[in-house]
């Protein structure tokens, strides 16, 4: 068995961590701009208008206890790649206990400072500068919900990322992902127009190569113990600055998946935990 572990350890080097050092650099420059609603991150601010109701309503429909309480009361949510806390704060206001993690310390600092002015949020949200792998060991099956919004198009290794999500999620827990499809259309609109022409997204934020088609994401999810419940396309209107849902997933899309309740077989789960924590050691 120990031989088995040694063999597995070797292929895992920094390049297999889900955190990509080049990506980090891009966000460093804009770490203090998160909370300017009209600034570089305005599209993310307005995305809250559809992603928060999506998360809220999905979770409400799965639970049976909403009368006079906050919609997300009693839920522990992990916001992976929380940035400045744009999504953590609304989720906290709706009653959830939120843990926001981001590999960039400057982002965490911004997020911490912003929540500190609101006594209610300051208690409900905890931020930590960390990668997903680094918290796996101490957070096995801890969270009811994981939210990874506009994150998977920045990670180095999607498979590892999804495996780690599964580790920290309780059985039957929900995983919400929003990301960008890899299509000709998303190249033209998502990179050329959005970044270079209209400046909706800061230039260089996205790399088309790392966009994830929904089929690929679904496949990875299903083969890692998740059951995909919803896939829905999203559309940004630059004139009105607002998002809406649409049938086609050729640009942006959102996914809701649920971790299966049946525990995986013993050997595979041990392998997964080692994968995740081994990566953390070398990251």
């Amino acid at each position: 068995l120990s031989l088995f572990r040694l063999t597995l350890r070797r292929p895992f080097s920094t390049s297999r961590s889900s955190v990509d050092a080049k990506e980090i650099k891009k966000f460093q420059l804009l770490a203090h701009k998160w909370w300017d609603e009209e600034g570089e991150y305005s599209a993310l601010h307005s995305m809250n208008d559809i992603r928060v109701p999506f998360i809220r309503d999905t979770l409400l429909s799965m639970s049976s206890n909403y009368h006079g309480r906050a919609p997300l009361a009693g839920l522990k949510i992990l916001d992976v790649g929380c940035g400045g806390g744009l999504l953590s704060e609304p989720l906290g206001r709706l009653g959830a206990s939120v843990t926001g993690i981001d590999p960039l310390e400057d982002n965490i600092r911004t997020a911490d400072r912003h929540k500190s002015f609101d006594p209610v949020l300051a208690k409900r949200i905890q931020y930590k500068s960390s990668s997903l792998e680094e918290i796996v060991e101490e957070s096995v099956e801890t969270f009811d919900v994981i939210v990874a919004s506009e994150v998977v198009e920045h990670v180095a290794d999607l498979e590892t990322f999804i495996k780690c999500c599964s580790q920290v999620l309780k059985p039957e827990g929900s995983l919400f992902i929003t990301t960008i499809n890899k299509t000709q259309l998303s190249y033209v609109l998502g990179i050329v127009v959005a970044e270079k022409i209209m400046g909706i997204v800061p230039e260089g934020t996205h790399e088309w190569e790392k966009f994830v088609p929904p089929e690929e994401l679904e496949h990875i999810l299903e083969s890692n113990g998740f059951s995909v419940k919803t896939v829905s396309g999203m559309l940004y209107n630059p004139l009105s600055g607002s998002w809406s849902w649409m049938e086609s997933t050729s640009l942006n899309y959102a996914v809701h998946a649920v971790k299966s309740g049946a525990p995986p077989t013993d050997t595979s789960s041990e392998m997964d935990i080692q994968q995740c924590s081994a990566t953390a050691g070398t990251a």
């Binding site: 203090h32 909370w35 300017d36 609603e37 600034g39 307005s46 809250n48 208008d49 928060v52 109701p53 809220r56 006079g68 309480r69 906050a70 919609p71 704060e89 609304p90 989720l91 906290g92 206001r93 709706l94 009653g95 911004t110 400072r113 912003h114 002015f117 609101d118 209610v120």
Partner: protein, 416 residues
Amino acid sequence: GQLYSLIVGHDIHFHDKKIALLEAGPRKEYDHMPDSYSNRVSSISPGSATLLSSFGAWDHVCSLRLKPFRRMQVWDACSEAMIIFEKDDLDDMGYIVENDVIMSALTKQLDAVADRVEVFYRSRAVGYTWPLSSHSCDTSPWVQIELADGRRLQTKLLIGADGHNSVVRKEAEIKNIEHQYDQSAVVATLHLSEATDNNVAWQRFLPTGPIALLPLSDTASSLVWSTSHEHASELLAMDEESFVDSINSAFWSNINHSDFIDTAGAMFRSAISLLKPSGTAVRQLPPSVAKVDPESRAMFPLGMGHATEYVHHRVALIGDAAHRIHPLAGQGVNLGFGDIACLVHHLSAAAFNGSDLGSLKHLLKFETDRQRHNVSLIAATDVLKRLYSTRLAPLVLLRTWGLQATNALPPVKVRI
């Protein structure tokens, strides 16, 4: 301010929010009303009544005192033209309620949500510190308020409900378009010569301004007479008998008619009755006044106002702080209630989305909704006021025919 706090206090989406209400006056609550009527009354539309009943305040109003009215007759002093509003079914068109009654009902209901709404009676804000809209992370992004007694409050959203001379509006540097009418309104509580059903609201447009009689009970009515400042002072100064005579004469006298206008009006009326037989109605006579309550005469100046913006980052204006209107249409209070219902609707949706309540995005939606609604009403009221302030024949003819036509046309009337 009280009404807003009340509705928000009751809304389920605000269950964990804290609301502070700064009230300049003392606490006012009545278990039963004094025998005499207060001279400040409001005309409450059915929509506003529904709003008040949605959180239990209307029951208190009903248990104190109010007068429903079924019909409204509006006519011109310079011609025979008139327009009558009434509902086909036996529903009430509206209610005349003393302002004190409304305040007392709201106060009672505020007690019911005391865990969420804290009322600071006899308090006054002396200073406001506004957040910078771009978040420089060192200073608090909330609004800081300093009270006269030295206490400090901070809030995510400041609502200015402090009347047409709003301090909040001035401090937020929101420009206000305003115009003083050369008119004052004289109010009084009147006693009728004989008891009657008194379920009609009367308004006659005199060249000097509209005079209105609003029913309070079978024997009492409230007077709202908009007229020039000089005339208003005279009315206040004269003895009670002369005052009563002036009122009766204003409603009954035909001194402003001219043969020309009468003939033209009569011609138009027969034309209408050919086209639309039911389109002319019988003019009823208003009740005559016998007495005025001794201490009840008062006057206050009239003006029009409209704030160029209703909202800024973390600030919203409602009611008279946002807009001021001539009383001739009896809409001032209802406009304010409409503001409140709209603001609560948008804030409730924002709270359900976990948004920061002071965020400009949803505040702008409130502003757009209400400005669209309010501006046209305020402008129309202003035009009516000016149109009816003259004896010039062409304008009198215009408004005579206009009024007669409007009376005959159901779609237009229903809209009003």
